[in-house]
Structures are given as C-alpha cells and as structure tokens.
C-alpha cells in the first residue's frame, strides 16, 4: 500500500514558511496526481499546490490560515484502501506518524477518520519555535506589530535570548537594529544618513484616530511587498529620469501584426515592444543589468525582465527569462503567459526568480508617469505611462502623435545620470524608429 506525505514546498530560495490559505480538498476526498490540493501564500507568491500522488486525502494536518515551515508535512495522501498506515513513516517526522498508526484503517471510501482531529491539534505547537524571548518581549512585539524573529541573533540575554532591553532599543532605533540579511552592505560613497533614512517604517507613531475603523491584518503578500519596498528605499539611492517617446511606429507595428499574432493565439499589446527595446538596451548598457554586492558590481549575463502584474490581492513580478533571445512573438507570448498565470495563481517559484530588470506600468489607468521603486537587488526599473495622443512639435509644425512618458528609476550608487539617460535614449530611439 502507498501513503504519500504532502509537504509545504519551498516557494523560492529565501522562503522558509508558507501559509495555507485554502484546502481545495477535504479529508476523505479522492484526488488525482497534480490536481490542486491546497492554496498557499508565501511572502513571494500565492500559489496552488498540486497533489504529489493520486489517492485519497487521508489526513490534513495543518488548518487554513496556519503558517508552517517548509518541509512540514501538511497532509497525507493514502491509496484509499483500508490498510493501516504503518509502513509509511520515514524518520523525519516521527511525531506526526504516531497517531496514524494508532488510528488504524481508513474506511474504504475515505470518509472522515475518527480520532484524528485531536491528534493533529497536538502537533501544532512544535511549529512555533525559533527565537528565544520572554512573555514580556512577545507582548511588546505584538502590541507594536513587530516580528520578534526580526531580532534573531541580536539578543543579548543568555543563549541569545531577546530581552526587554533588546526589543526596546530595537523600537527606539526605528525597528532597525536587526535585519542583517535585508540590505546589501553599504560601501564607499554610499554612506547615507542613518538618521534620516531610518525614520521611515517599521516604527511609526502610534495610530491616533477618533472614529470607527476596521482593522485588517496584512496578508503575507502585502507584508512582503511592504517590507520589500521600504527595504529598497533604504538600500538604493533612487533617482528617476523621464523620457517622452513617440509611439507612432510601434502603434502602427502593433496594428499591423495583431491579426497575424492572433491567428497563433497570441494577443499583441504594446508591452512586448518595450520589453524588446529594454532587452536590447540592457545588452548595450550592462551596468543597468547589474547588482551591487558590497563593494562589487555584479554584472549579470542573462537579461531577465520582470513585468509587474497588478492583482486584486497584491502585486507580483514574474520574470521573462533571457528576454534578449526572444523575438517579438516570443515576448508577446511570454507576457501573456505570465500575466495569466499570475492572475490564476499558477506561477511557480521559478517564475519570480532571478529578474535583472523590471518594467512596471503606472499608465495602466491613465497615469502620465510614475517614479517606481527599484525591485531589489536590481538597480533600475522602468515605468510605462499611458499612451495618449498629444500635440507635439515636429520640424516646427504641430503634429498629433501617440506619446508615452517613460520613467526610469535607477540606483545612483551604481548608475550615473548620464548612463541612465543614454540607456533611455537608446530605448527611445529604438521605439521611435521601429521597423516592422
């Protein structure tokens, strides 16, 4: 007989836990291999997790809304036969296996198995381990909305315990004392006034408001975005440059190729044009495709362009790998594909990894231009404003042209204004002279 344990997958390198947002099957349900079993939310992506095996959901060990570490067993898929699950357990999670051995055969059809509920209850506690603190520290953290694990390794108590002094000084310093992993080491000319920069979150003044309110806790994704944005602001020296681009050529090219693309099932928008222009420019200006690692600029060979996708529940940046190797058709297909999968929660960790440059679309609802925040550890992000017909002066005559405002936020630690503008001028030139 077979019994397969379903574990919380690692949805990306730096992810150590995930929240089960929804079980799509209940105990006793039949499930096919690769059929969606549950939905999770991590600090990078929300995703449906397929079943690793066909069978019957024999046991669900983690409740909806609960956050567990990766590799934690969250469910067991049995073969639906009425055999005891005695042989299954590999050594890793012995505590979780014990109850099932006692509980005996699951009824053939896979109805609810009596006696399992309480056993699973008991297993919830070991998940909450990690940083040593105290009841007081945990209460202060809760009241101030601080994640105690942010102080991991910073405790001055016995065995590194987080003490009252530690958390109070953490709060005093704007919640910044710990967070070693987050920002790249600062170096050389990048010295920024700690005082100024650190005053942003995470220790805002207590909220004062008289009147009815509704308090909604941040979702894992929202929290990740919040942290990532603030971290980026604190890490890079953001500067934004604006370029107005005449889109006549690409609009024409789009109209011309639309039908042809459509026949292959690919919807053509303007986005792929910008992706292609950016990919070409990135090849010519490799520093825009780099990262800063301490005192070292890391130039990345692959050109992987992330496209910010707006979702009802947040924002995600799936990545088109090796964008420079794709033609317009390939790019159009890729843009459609990642957008669709993002909205359907079908992205994999691979899809959001290893971006080297990002394009975002502040013009989606008519915005003229935006000043986007760099997606760390990248060093630049391009924002596309809305394309709108405007009166422009060409050869001393007034003409009507579809215009777009492109913005580039770049990290002045690595990129100087001249390079950024040359990079943008390159993109402008490509777009304005597009030949289809």
């Amino acid at each position: 007989m077979a019994e397969t344990k379903v574990i919380m997958p690692q949805m990306g390198e730096s992810i150590f836990e995930g929240t089960i947002t929804k079980w799509l099957k209940k105990k006793g349900d039949r499930i096919e291999r690769d059929e969606a079993l549950f939905e999770i939310s991590t600090d990078k992506i929300d995703s449906e997790i397929p079943s690793p095996a066909s069978g019957v959901v024999q046991d669900i060990l983690v409740k909806e809304g609960q956050t567990v570490q990766i590799n934690t067993v969250v469910a067991v898929i049995g073969d639906g036969s009425a055999k005891p699950a005695a042989e299954a357990p590999p050594a890793k999670e012995p505590a979780q296996e014990a109850p099932k051995m006692k509980e005996g055969p699951a009824p053939g059809g896979g109805g609810p198995v009596p006696g399992v509920e309480e056993e699973t209850e008991a297993e919830e506690s070991p998940l909450d381990e990690g940083v040593r603190s105290s009841p007081l520290v945990r209460r202060i953290a809760k009241e101030r909305g601080i994640d105690v694990s942010a102080l991991a390794g910073k405790g001055t108590g016995i065995n590194g315990r987080i003490t009252k002094r530690d958390i109070l000084s953490y709060i005093e310093q704007g919640g910044k004392a710990a967070q070693p992993s987050v920002s790249p080491p600062q170096s050389g000319g990048a010295a920024r006034s700690a005082g100024l920069v650190n005053q942003t979150p995470p220790s805002p003044p207590p909220m004062k408001f008289t009147g009815e309110v509704e308090r909604v806790p941040l979702t894992a994704m929202r929290k990740a975005i919040a942290e990532h944005m603030v971290m980026s602001r604190k890490t890079s020296a953001h500067v934004t440059t604006l370029f107005e681009v005449d889109c006549s050529h690409i609009v024409k090219a789009k109209e011309k190729q639309q039908a042809e693309f459509q026949r292959s099932g690919v919807k053509l928008t303007v986005t792929p044009f910008f992706v292609q222009a950016a990919a070409n420019a990135l090849k010519r200006f490799p520093v825009v495709n780099s990262s800063l690692d301490g005192d070292t600029v890391v130039y990345k060979r692959p050109i992987n362009i992330g496209i910010a996708v707006n979702l009802e529940w947040g924002l995600i940046v799936p990545v088109i790998k090796n964008a420079d190797e794709k033609n317009l058709f390939g790019l159009a297909k890729a843009v459609n594909d990642i957008g669709e999968r993002a909205r359907n929660k079908k992205l994999t960790p691979e899809d959001v990894k290893d971006g080297t440059f990002t394009i975002t679309n502040p013009g989606q609802y008519g915005g003229l231009a935006g000043t986007p925040i760099i997606n760390q550890p990248q060093v630049a992000i391009m924002g596309m404003g809305g394309i709108k017909k405007r009166a422009v002066v060409i050869d001393d005559a007034i003409a009507i042209r579809p215009m777009i405002m492109l913005s580039l936020s770049f990290d002045h630690r690595v990129i100087d204004g001249a390079v950024a503008d040359q990079f943008m001028a390159d993109i402008q030139k490509q777009l304005e002279n597009w030949q289809s």
Binding site: S134, P135, G157, K164
Partner: protein, 324 residues
C-alpha cells in the same frame, strides 16, 4: 530624640493601646514579673496590675483558649507565645476555633497572638522557626510580619484594634538591631498594605521580616554595578498587598521572591503563582525564589549561616536574572 528599637516599639504599641482601651490585656508565660523573655512587657505589671498582665502556666493551647474566651466576652487579649515555635501547641485553638468563629457563629474573635520568630541568633531548631505559613493557609486569620520599628508599633496597634484574630510574628533578630525615630503621635499601619523600601527599575525583590535588610544590603552592592533593585516589603502576608506586587513586577519585569522560611509551601510559591497568573505577559525572565532550604533550622552556627538566605545569594540570583 532617642531612637526606638523594634522590641521597644512593640512594647510601646501594646502599652498605648492598654492606656487607651481597658479591654486590652496581656497574657503569657513570664510576661508579668519577668517582663517577658525578650522584655516586650517590661514594666507593664507595675503600670497595669496583675488583672491585665497575666502570667500563665506553660500551655500555649491554654493561653490562646483563654484569650478566645475572653475575646468572645468582649475583651481584647494580646497573647504572647514565648517563642513562635511553640505556637503549634495552640494550633487547634487558633485554626479551628479563633479562625472559624466568625464564619460559624458570626462571633468575631479579636485576639492577637504574638511571638518572636526567625533565626540568626543561634537558637537551634526549636527557637528559630518561621511558622507563618501554617496560618497564612488558614482563612479567617490575619498574619503580619513587621520588619521595621515603625511597622512593629503600627501593626501591633492595628492588630489589637482589629475585630478578628491576628497572628503577629515579630522577628527576634531585629529586636535590638533595628531602631528608628518614631513619631510621637498615635499611628497605625494598615494590615494588608506593603511598602516599597527602595525604588528600582531592573528587578523587584519581594520580601518580608528580617530578609528586608538582606535585600536592601544586596541592592546597595548591586547598585555599584548599575543593577537597580526595587525592594518591596510585604509587611502583611494575610491579606497581602497583591496590587503592590503586581504593579512592581509590571514595572521591572523581573522578580526575586525572598524569605527566611523554607521553600516548599513557602509564601514565595504562592506569590510566584499569582504573578504568573496575573502578570505573565510582563515577565522578562523566570520568577526566582530565594529561601531557606527545606530542613529544620540547624543549631550549629556555621550551618545556620549556610541555611539562612544571604546578601551573596541575592546578588548571585540578581546577576543571573539581570543577564537572562
């Protein structure tokens, strides 16, 4: 003005109450002609006469029984146990009778049973005990343990005026060792109220009786290293000042419970339970107890010294807790 010793403060307190209220009288072994084993009643026989200062046979049960009877007849007896160790001979009278009268028949028993307790004077196992917890465990009684001359006087007066039985444990080590300038007016110390003896920010030491001075000396030593103890003197154990304890723990977030009594079933255990029930989320470290070990009080002076909690114990535990 001359400083008043702890023992003299008790004597003054009883004396003043006897002057004011003729229902008040003293009974006990050698309290009359001899003036009491520790001279608490010295001079009283001459002043108040043998109807109010009564020498009794050696029978603690008889002394307390007679006091209860007199109290029920409207008197305000102050019964002396020559050593608090022998209060156990009167255990039944106190716990089954004095403590229950009001609840059983609605008849209050306004007696005071007082006596010298505690070690540090090489008195051996029968003359050094701290029997307070037998009585703290008995609903219907009040139990007080003054540590200063002011409290000794203020609490004996409050005990005499109290409508219910009060067990008054004086600490014999303090009799002539602590003294202070007492106000001349008529004052009482309310039963059930603690006193903060030293304000501090890092660790609270909750204590009572002679251990107050151990805590204060330790605080002085720790102050040099920048560790700031708050010292809370309970003064009364039943009822005890829970609010004061909780408030101090909420402030310092770390607590040492210090008493001279042995550990199991000692007052520190009860305090620890209450603190963890009511101030758990304010604790930044484990609740620590410093008490005598669970043995009778040794007779040998070096052993007794080992047995009693010391300044160095408080300093050591405070170090551990501070670093925790």
């Amino acid at each position: 003005m001359a400083l008043t010793t702890y023992v003299e403060a008790i004597r003054q307190g009883i004396w003043e109450e006897m002057e004011k209220d003729e229902r008040v009288f003293v009974l006990g072994e050698d309290v009359g002609i001899y003036g009491g084993a520790f001279k608490v009643t010295a001079g009283m026989l001459e002043r108040f006469g043998e109807w109010r200062i009564i020498d009794t046979p050696i029978s603690e049960s008889g002394i307390v029984g007679a006091a209860i009877g007199a109290a029920l007849m409207g008197m305000r007896p102050v019964a002396e146990m020559q050593f608090a160790d022998f209060i156990s001979c009167a255990f039944d009278q106190i716990t089954n009778f004095a403590a229950k009268c009001r609840y059983r028949w609605g008849a209050g028993v306004p007696i005071v049973v007082r006596g010298p307790s505690g070690g540090g004077v090489h008195g051996g196992p029968f003359h050094s005990q701290n029997p307070e917890m037998y009585f703290v465990h008995t609903p219907g009684l009040k139990v007080v343990c003054p540590a200063t001359a002011y409290d000794a006087k203020g609490l004996i007066k409050a005990a005499i005026r109290d409508p219910d039985p009060v067990i008054y444990f004086e600490h014999k080590f303090l009799y002539r060792r602590v003294k202070e300038d007492l106000p001349a007016d008529d004052f009482v110390v309310p039963i059930g109220k603690a006193a903060i003896r030293r304000l501090g920010t890092d660790i609270t030491v909750v204590t009572y009786g002679a251990m107050l001075y151990i805590a204060l000396d330790a605080a002085k030593e720790l102050e040099k290293e920048g560790i700031d103890l708050e010292v809370l003197d309970l003064r009364s154990l039943l009822p005890f000042d829970k609010e004061a304890v909780i408030e101090s723990v909420k402030k310092t977030n770390k607590v040492i419970l210090l008493h001279e009594d042995t550990q199991i079933g000692g007052f520190a255990g009860e305090l620890a339970a209450i603190i963890s029930e009511e101030a758990f989320e304010y604790l930044d470290g484990p609740i620590r107890r410093i008490t005598a070990p669970d043995t009778p009080v040794p007779y040998s002076p070096p052993l007794e010294e080992f047995f009693l909690p010391k300044v160095s114990d408080v300093v050591r535990v405070a170090h551990e807790l501070y670093a925790y």
